[in-house]
Symmetry: C4
Subunit: 296 residues, 4 copies
């Protein structure tokens, strides 16, 4: 588990500027490092600050709270913005390649964490975009970089990556079905019943096949209900059928182990049968039994 300063990572270019021992290196160790107590304390404090600042954003959106405490919210928001600005400046100051850091994924997230508040100050009427501040939440992913080193998540990530071709084809087939069946419903039901266009019908198709079923658009004609029923059984069946196949397969194998389905297998040496499932040695003469039914 290497500490971040020594990672020459294209994804996270945080090599330390300045010589070891200098103030740059010490600050760099605190901000980016996780090996020292100071580094870990900084990370914990930063996560708490991020979560609190997000809480401010969330509560500010609630009319009852944001209205009544507008001033306090504003003060808190600027406090956090200044804190994160100082931290951002410190990061840029202590890495060897500040530009490379600034355009990396984490660098951009850091910038987007503070920029909206400044923009809302300079450009009147841009408060609507201020909720991009919520992207600060992505900053907590730094802490989760540790998960990259945990074996299980590496394997899970590898499994997902290995399956990405299957996943993409699966998604394409689902989208094709949504497009075709959505268009069918658009033709069958028509705008009078809520299916005002093919995109709207596709939205309804997704709502139906993923079994969400808002009910804002529902079929009214008999044929439409029949097509909808088919789509519902399809979306639910895609979950139910593989689960059933897997369960049947698994219980079959467990039953094989327990109930001696090898009883018909005859030993090659002495010809006796009636062996236990999974037995590797003939119970009567001790010779090896093949694992499947290979006879000689």
């Amino acid at each position: 588990m290497k500490s971040h300063p020594r990672q020459r990572d294209a994804f996270y270019p945080v090599e330390c500027a300045g010589s070891p021992g200098g103030w740059r290196a010490r600050v760099h160790e605190i901000i980016f490092g996780i090996d020292t107590p100071a580094g870990r304390a900084f990370d914990i404090g930063l996560v708490i600050a991020i979560l609190l600042s997000i809480l401010v954003v969330v509560l500010d959106s609630v009319p009852a709270i944001g209205g009544r405490h507008a001033e306090a919210m504003l003060v808190l928001e600027w406090l956090f913005t200044l804190l994160f600005t100082v931290e951002y400046a410190a990061r840029l100051a202590t890495v060897r390649h500040p530009l490379r850091y600034a355009v990396s994924f984490y660098g951009l997230i850091d910038l987007l964490s503070v920029l909206p508040t400044y923009v809302s100050l300079l450009v009147p009427g841009s408060e609507a975009l201020i909720d991009i501040r919520i992207l600060r939440l992505l900053r907590v992913f730094r802490i989760f970089k540790l998960t990259l080193y945990i074996e299980e998540y590496t394997k899970l990530a590898e499994a997902l990556a290995a399956s990405r071709r299957k996943i993409m084809v699966f998604i394409s087939v689902v989208l094709m079905a949504v497009l075709i069946l959505g268009t069918v419903m658009y033709v069958v039901e028509g705008p009078a019943h809520g299916y005002t266009s093919i995109p709207t019908a596709m939205y309804w198709a997704i709502v139906t096949m993923t079994t969400v079923g808002y009910g804002d658009i529902t079929p009214h004609t008999a044929l439409g209900k029949a097509v909808a029923s088919f789509m519902m059984l399809l979306g639910w069946g895609i979950l139910a059928v593989p689960t059933g196949i897997v369960t049947a397969e698994m219980t079959a194998r467990r039953n094989d182990r327990r109930h001696g389905t090898r009883s018909l297998l005859a030993c090659e040496h002495c010809g006796s049968s009636g062996h236990e499932s999974g037995a590797r040695f003939c119970k009567d003469c001790g010779a090896s039994l093949p694992e499947t039914g290979v006879q000689r």
Copy 2:
């Protein structure tokens, strides 16, 4: 399967007070023990009483029934409360450390089973809280303590405990998605369309990603419907994609077993190939075959 009196369990401190043979021990055996017929009969009777008392609580809430039979309900409620109070007193009286029992999980549940009815008598206007009585239901878990000794549930509990880190990260990722996508919808749709605040949008996001889909809040803008469609496919896909991966994996292995994917494997002794899948001995010379493709 040890009887409870001998368990010095921090979670369930019910060591018997008094000497064996005394009245305390006999009552303790009946109340806490499951080894004697009296103990088992007590448990069965207690479960029936608990379930009946819960039925009273449930029916009392139905206006048609609770209104018409208010007096009968009240009488029954006090009958059960008195019965459970006597039982509670008996428990406290027969354990060695009554205080320790009173603050344990089961002790508190026992207390909360009777307290609300007394409180509603003393403090006028507290009837709303009286439905805490429903927690009596947790008392039936005593009977389910037996499940702790059943091998399957111990393993399941161990499996869940072993997976708790994965489960927590999974929940965190889902909550992060809910927060970020909910905020996106709040910005895109806005209060005019029902997304009155970020918490409300987060509630809608959970309703959507878990595929519940009440329909009390629905997207109205085209972009909102597009984001919602993405979230629905995500919530449903989290169920569908792993199921598909598992099914593909399992059927691949079953096909391997059946169709001899070892046919290319050459025996190390005689060089012949075309062996059955899973064969452990070369069918031509009887030498061992490695389980995978290790050659020599």
Copy 3:
């Protein structure tokens, strides 16, 4: 696969009356047997008649059709009823123990297939119950008795039976959660918001935890929405979490097979390591390798 007449089945007591070769045995063979062409033709014809009669019931319920063709429907209904009555009489006449057959599961279904139509004739105003006729559908299960002999379904049935204790506990835990969380919502939201009684709240809880989500009752208070969110994540998570655990486990094992995680295992004879995953014999000295990491 034994033909039915020779089955002395308590569940299906259809032993033949009369001597073989007599008219009883011949009719019995046609009605109950599946070995002869006549027997199979009878079964197919019967299934078609049952499905057609059900179609009559279904179409009769549609106002547009049942209203316009009321007379034709009635004629068809009586045709089928008379046909099934004759068949029922034939069954009773050709089995050795007619009473035993009449009270068996299939015997009762046969009776309920014809009785409602007669009852509606004799007792005016009982037409509402006439749709019990739909139970004729269960008669097609005779054909599916064949599935009992198909290996896969026997195993599936055994698996379900073996798991019935786990299934019952799972259902009980779900019902407990529904009762407790339903009562919580009844207290939190109250009748003003649709939660008019505890049973109604339990109905809502089931609608929510099974992710159906009609939207006829929805939470209105902030606390109610929070509790509801918890319940939705629970109901959906019960599907998502085990699927994730299984997928992680399966991909881990597949990765083990592919990437040689036995490389650290040292052979007991010669001490060499670096063996292929799944190798059973030491590649350097040919001695057996333990299946797991047992060393000596």
Copy 4:
């Protein structure tokens, strides 16, 4: 991976007409072939054209867009139609058996891709059917013919085919439940509460059991809500219970591997027990251990 011209495929009869090297063969290679750069470029260009033409159909259905740009849409539509007509003619001209191609699956799709636009020209008032143009989407499946050669999809297709009997029985059981429970709800709730006929009640039953839950029809009586609750638990449980069984089974096996559940097994030679799970040799005397509990 054979190029298409040499496939004498009943499903895709595209054997080349004319002698190799002639203009027919060259055009055939471009249109049907995937081995040459020209063939691949043609395929890519064709997919892009198909997707763009579908985009035109989709956008044309949106009133805001289709209304404002009706002329542009029409021009684009005819452009694509002419392009696909030329391509269709080229296909017919370069295959050896044009009739056989024209009635094959892909031939019909190709025809249906261009026909509606011509029909709408000749037969006034048939614009509603013009959205059959969406079937052009199926033409992209040609590209996906490649997937037939990818091992994983072949196995998945084989698995589905092998399981088709189980899938059909599963679907039949679900449809039976929908019919019977739907009729029950029709009788219990009745047309006054939205269950206007048995087909409508069946539609509601599918909406409920697949957990879609629109909410356009909901139960109002207490008995109806109880039956509905049962159906919801059934539809959701069909997903949850097998998943739970599989997870329990898998974690049990993983625990077996890790915790030595063979500890009770006694070695046949020396009688010692306490062997590691999966151990194949007795740790005390080196003799073989059976894989299961076969003793001698």
